[in-house]
Symmetry: C3
Subunit: 268 residues, 3 copies
């Protein structure tokens, strides 16, 4: 097979949106290997899309073209771009969605996509995934020089994940993602967590519930018991054995978790 095109969208699986994008790609080059990263990003949630892309891209073959469509500004004057990085190509709207992944891999060049001859003949105002991003991705994966796709640009809409906030010796953490098992991914990575907890016992408070057990795998606790674990992407996660931690804690994206030393004086 030819190169890989990896798709990330908020289109869901209930419509033909994704299938049609694959039809467009196959029409241009039937040898490409098209892989779905996910299509269940929450509608228009650029932050969640950015997180999923950033924690996924490095597992794909070098040269993969990531075709990314979480695009609330479709049809407006937001730019369509291709970011060439050290190992990959990222194609999608210039709204921050691809920023973290591209920066982490190392941005080499940014192209503004305005050569309409590489779009579908008729471009709608609401479905650039089909009309622009799918055909552009197929052309790049098939070997087209990205410089032919439009002028180089230096500017990019930036998007950064929230970082932990320290206050009176406590860390205020935010949720980056809740996965399909109900594991809650927090915005602190292994090194920073271990630095904080090096010589102390910790308490993590969320939804008025305190979690203070750090496990290495799911079988160390009882069924349904809450604990924290360094997840497979290197972030701290709140989990429950064979149960849905997000359900148990009744949390929503945006909720805050407080990490502090056990038995520390709390200001209420």
């Amino acid at each position: 097979m030819g190169n890989t095109v990896a798709l990330l969208t908020d289109f869901g699986y209930g419509d033909s949106f994704v299938g049609v994008m694959k039809g467009v790609i196959a029409s241009l080059d039937n040898s490409l290997n098209v892989i779905d990263i996910s299509h269940d990003i929450l509608p228009q949630d650029i932050g969640q899309g950015a997180f999923v892309l950033d924690t996924s891209y490095s597992y794909f073959p070098k040269g993969t073209v990531f075709c990314c469509v979480v695009d609330p500004g479709v049809g407006s004057d937001r730019k369509a771009i291709c970011i060439k990085t050290k190992n990959y190509y990222f194609v999608g709207p210039d709204n921050g969605l691809m920023y973290a992944a591209a920066e982490n891999d190392g941005i080499v060049k940014i192209i503004e996509l305005n050569e309409e001859k590489y779009f579908l003949d008729k471009v709608s105002l609401t479905f650039h995934g089909r009309d622009i991003f799918a055909p552009i991705s197929a052309h790049i994966a098939a070997g087209l020089d990205v410089e032919l796709l439009g002028p180089e640009t230096q500017r990019l809409v930036e998007f950064r994940f929230p970082v932990p906030k320290e206050e009176d010796g406590e860390l205020r953490l935010k949720m980056l993602h809740v996965d399909s098992f109900g594991n809650i991914v927090l915005n602190i990575q292994e090194t920073e967590f271990k630095n904080f907890c090096a010589d102390i016992e910790f308490e993590l408070t969320i939804s008025n519930i305190v979690v203070n057990k750090l496990c290495r795998h799911y079988t160390e606790v009882e069924e349904g018991e809450l604990f924290v674990i360094i997840g497979s992407n290197g972030y701290l996660e709140i989990s429950a054995r064979n149960a849905d931690a997000a359900d148990i804690l009744n949390v929503e994206l945006g909720d805050i978790a407080i990490l502090r030393e056990k038995n520390a004086q709390r200001e209420e």
Copy 2:
């Protein structure tokens, strides 16, 4: 890769139905490029399946074999057919599902599938997707002459989408589809809508709510605001910015929308 087989079913993703069909196809020809259009057609909803197929097929490579299974009559005396059209092949039950797409592409020949040697050895009475339609589709995509699959027939179960009904200067519209974002697709296309609204301001009434703004893209209105737009398939859609219009309006497939001149005298 070889030719494309595109799958459209109401099997959902929770079972192995679709995976098994792909296993059958790969067993016959492992070089074929199998693409999912959608598997989340509402169970046994031939009309929704016909809409999704009709708005998708033309984006696929010429020669694609569409393997379509929304089949409430499986195991009864409904026929299994292959429709050869100008550019494609449509394989599935003869229940109207493939009628609109096939007719729009131009029907060349209809074959009744009764050569059992191209089926799986053991044919169940409830899963012809696996036992008949998948292997037949693979054989055709691999190059088998469709005339070997059974006798030619002239008759086809017809299915037409509802058309707008005009009454006292108003148009009564029906919903064809609600997509995964909650956009409501109505049974009127761009040209007919623009003819109706050429010199007037319009009102579209649905669920006792009036929508009278036509936008070109989603960012022209406030968050959550309702508007109409010509969707990516050329049909009029009711949308809400970064929100779910179908949820806001609490509509169900089958509900009616009334399009009339603004401030026209209404007969209540």
Copy 3:
């Protein structure tokens, strides 16, 4: 294309877990044909996973590598194994998930996967699907001799589907699966059912409702009417025409159905 890798997991479609596994596979061999069996196995439900695998595997090309991850014990001391059978390879945790399928195809050899050079460089404690099972499956599909993956072992965690229990001439049946249409799959196959019902009329009681009609296909009854049918996998299923039998009966996995002779004396 190269060999087939078939994936079965409980990862759902809302995350990038499955996409990342495909990225890992493509990174090792971009020519492999990767097919999804299902990713909607109920979280950690080994029994449902075993059922779906056992009823699916034989439809895949000979030589297919089944990469199976329903793995509540990930990171603990449960073994990672490859079972070579007469026609296939099964790669996953040693927890019974692959037992029925492997035994039915005929076990040839069991390898304990401990050659870390075939894993990803960094192995997490919570995502062996990505770090161990995906790369091992790709290596096998690409032609690596399974004996290089670790030592042979004779022991395997066994898992058997429940069998009907006879008591006072009645059969107590269990539900193996509810499919996406709401069809309820019971743990009795065609031959055993027909033996039981050979010369009698039967009654099947579930949720205090009696079903006593055996149909050959769905169109023999009225809309919404309950009946039993030999399903496409050879098991007895409770169905309702164009309706969801599991919803109508309000059953849950674990519920019991009683099969008896019609009008037989019942002990209450």
